[in-house]
């Protein structure tokens, strides 16, 4: 493990109820401390009415731990975890719009696209849209490859990340639903150190 005070990328996973204004409540926990959010994804989770946030920031573990506690303190937040990049499997999706003529004429482009795992989503007379999914450097790499051939437009999604050691949230949620939850729900990082899922 790196030093607690050393900055690195952290993936923060938040399970919440779906409520207007909660995004702001979570965002201001970062902005108040002048911490930039590098990537933010929010979408419904596998459980009905529960949303999952994936937030990426570059900070020290010491700071991230305090942030997760502030996030978990919010009324509509069920649970907040943080993980290093090594503890998650993550992907970002990117879309590239390129002139169809260029691709049709230049065989090399077609090969490069195939080598980079790109897949055509839309093919029109005037342009073609390719999609690729991967780590930041992979999607970045394809930009530099397509740039000489007249990349018209590019967009990349926020990061989504799966926690390697997680047992999922279903069981935990059932505990949450109970009026008198067991100890697992209100976890204590001191107890969980060394266990599979490290959480606060």
């Amino acid at each position: 493990m790196t030093q607690e005070s050393e900055k690195q990328e952290f993936n923060i996973t938040v399970y919440t109820e779906n409520q207007i204004g909660l995004l702001n409540r979570i965002a201001i926990i970062f902005t108040r401390r002048k911490i930039n959010i590098d990537s933010l994804n929010t979408s419904p989770s596998e459980i009905d009415k529960i949303h999952r946030f994936n937030i990426v920031i570059n900070e020290s573990e010491d700071v991230v731990r305090k942030l997760t506690r502030q996030i978990e303190k919010q009324v509509e937040v069920l649970k907040c975890y943080y993980h290093t990049n090594a503890d998650v499997i993550w992907q970002e999706m990117a879309l590239y719009k390129v002139s169809t003529d260029v691709i049709a004429e230049k065989v090399s482009v077609e090969r490069l696209l195939r080598e980079n795992g790109a897949r055509a989503v839309v093919i029109r007379k005037d342009y073609t849209v390719f999609e690729t999914t991967g780590h930041r450097e992979e999607t970045d790499n394809l930009i530099s490859i397509l740039q000489p051939y007249g990349l018209i437009e590019f967009v990349r999604s926020a990061r989504v990340a799966i926690i390697k050691d997680s047992d999922g949230f279903n069981r935990k949620l059932r505990e949450f639903e109970r009026l008198e939850p067991g100890e697992d729900v209100i976890e204590n990082e001191y107890l969980n150190q060394g266990q599979k899922v490290f959480t606060m």
Binding site: E177, L179, P181
Partner: protein
């Protein structure tokens, strides 16, 4: 209307329901929650609620304030003395934005409040309508929870959540914004059920016996243990449990400003106040103790001074209900998460009965030095002009420590907290975390409504008084009995003190002129008196306290007096200065 109310105020929901407006449903909810007093100010967007309130006059005592900031500070004062939730009404736009200072104050000082603001019609949201402002987003950073109601059917459930969230766990302010259409809208009301569970909200961490055991083991081995206690003891109504713990363990205990009064000031194990203007011994010995036991306090920077030189030699046991406070500022050796009303008795059971005579004597040594060099001069001055300290000492002698003391912010606040005697809990009402000048006068009004059988004395500086003196109008109209002492040093004293000590006496804009305070009070039909002679102090204080109803006493004190001891900013607590 009478007949409907009879039906409605039953706590159990009726099966068939009854058609009422959102406004009536709101007021019914307040009654079931046990609300008796509301501090508020009407306006366009909250008119339907005020119209309904007209018929609830006998059940809900609405106090018309003079400014919404006064209203929310009154709500805070009420919550602090009564232990109940303060309730505040304000209209949309400027009414709501005027609440912001009070919300921030309540948030940082963990005061339970439910604020109801009116809002423009739902169809006008986002159109820059008259008196429309984005209250939810403005107040998000300064509320524990907030919510906008746009449909009357939401009212019973949301208000129930609001009270539950405000009061449970670590308390805090909640704001509910209700659009005008929801206030007017008729719906089938089936009664009000208080909330006791929200699936995503865990107000109390589960108590872990293994940490209690570890904490007890540390405490039992300690040679020089030291307790720091804060408002958590009071908010958790754990004063008895705390006293039992202190007395069995025999450990000296010092308090934060908001913890004052959790055990009586004259308790033999109460060694005094912590922090920037706290007592000498508690500050110096923080850096000498071997086990530091922090109970319901959050290691504010005004308490810790320089963090990297704070209690580094000590093992830290931290008891707090809010997991986010553990390790936030000071790394704990043993975290005891939980409500201290539950954790303290468990800990008391495991600690050895002890007396730390030698260690306690160290505190007393420092007290002796502090008395010689600071306290004696402050309480028994030989100067011609009066000091703030002697006013507090004289007040103690008359009230015998039974009064509720409400203070504003600045030098008088530190002096009052240092020297006031508190026999009872919920007796010290002050703006601790936010340091809101102008807090005291309206908070004192609320404090009196929250503790009507107690004497409430507001101690205010000449600067702070002028920030919210419009609330004299509230005192006049409500007839509430608040004793007001203005300690007038003709300066913004605390800023002046810093300018003297750290800015080479460059007194930049601290020379403040005041109106004739007694004449101002008289304009509001409040009797008053001003004194500048020591000989008049006892009789003037007695006159004030014996007066039926409110009274304003202005005491002229030394212009350039400094509050000592002092831990200068950026210094360690052990570098505390006596002069």
């Amino acid at each position: 209307m009478e007949a409907i109310q009879e039906v409605l105020t039953e706590e159990k929901p009726t099966e068939t329901g009854i058609e009422v407006s959102g406004s009536v449903a709101l007021l019914e909810a307040l009654i079931v929650e046990g609300v008796d007093t509301i501090f508020g100010y009407p306006g366009g967007a909250i008119m339907p609620i005020y119209d309904a309130l007209f018929d609830y006059n006998d059940k809900l005592n609405h106090i018309l304030v003079r400014h919404e900031q006064g209203g929310i500070h009154a709500g805070q004062g009420y919550a602090r003395t009564s232990g109940k939730c303060g309730v505040v009404f304000a209209t949309s736009g400027p009414g709501a934005t005027n609440l912001v200072t009070g919300l921030a104050d309540a948030q940082i000082d963990s005061t339970p409040l439910v604020c109801i603001t009116g809002q423009v019609f739902a169809h006008l949201l986002g159109t820059d309508a008259f008196q429309e402002t984005d209250v939810i987003n403005i107040t998000t950073p300064v509320t524990k929870w907030n919510y906008q109601i746009t449909d009357a059917t939401e009212i019973p459930e949301v208000i129930a959540k609001a009270f539950y969230i405000a009061k449970s766990g670590r308390p805090g302010p909640v704001l509910i914004d209700i659009t005008k259409n929801a206030q007017i809208q008729l719906f089938n009301y089936k009664g009000y059920t208080p909330c006791s569970h929200i699936r995503s909200y865990r107000p109390k961490p589960i108590v872990r016996p293994q940490y209690i055991e570890q904490a007890a083991a540390l405490i039992n081995e300690a040679k020089k243990p030291f307790i720091l206690f804060g408002q958590g003891v009071i908010l958790g109504s754990a004063e008895q449990e705390f006293k039992a713990f202190v007395e069995k363990s025999g450990i000296p205990a010092a308090w934060t400003v908001l913890g004052a009064g959790a055990i009586p000031t004259d308790h033999p194990l109460n060694v005094g106040m912590l922090g920037m203007h706290g007592n000498y011994g508690p500050n110096v010995l923080t850096n000498e103790c071997d086990v530091l036991i922090a109970i319901g306090m959050r290691f504010d920077d005004r308490v810790t001074g320089r963090l990297d030189k704070y209690a580094k030699q000590a093992k830290v046991v931290h008891l707090d209900i809010d997991p986010a406070e553990i390790d936030k500022n000071v790394k704990s050796t043993v975290p005891v998460w939980g409500d201290c009303k539950e954790t303290l008795p468990l800990l008391t059971a495991l600690v050895d009965e002890k007396q730390h005579t030698e260690w306690l004597a160290k505190f007393n040594d420092y007290t002796r030095q502090e008395v010689e060099q600071v306290i004696e001069k402050e309480l028994n001055p030989t100067t011609a002009e009066m000091t703030m300290g002697e006013v507090i000492k004289q007040l103690n002698e008359i009230t015998k420590g039974e009064a509720v003391i409400v203070t504003d912010v600045g030098q008088h606040q530190m002096v009052a907290c240092r020297y006031a005697q508190f026999n009872n809990t919920r007796s010290n009402v002050t703006s601790g975390g936010l340091g809101t000048m102008g807090f005291a006068l309206p908070a004192a009004i609320g404090a009196k409504f929250g503790a009507q059988d107690r004497t409430v004395v507001a101690i205010i500086g000449d600067g702070g008084f002028q920030m919210t003196c419009q609330e004299l109008g509230t005192i006049m109209q409500s007839g509430i009995d608040v004793k007001i002492i203005i300690l007038n040093n003709r300066f913004l004293g605390m800023v002046r003190q810093w300018q003297e000590l750290f800015n080479s006496r460059r007194y930049s804009f601290v020379d403040i002129q005041s109106p004739d305070f007694v004449a101002l009070a008289a304009a509001y039909r409040i009797p008053g008196k001003t004194i500048d002679n020591r000989a008049d102090l006892p009789s003037a204080l007695s006159e004030m306290l014996n007066n039926k109803g409110s009274f304003l006493l202005e005491v002229m004190v030394t212009k350039e007096n400094n509050v000592f001891p002092m831990v200068p900013q950026g210094c360690s607590v052990s570098e505390i200065r006596l002069k």
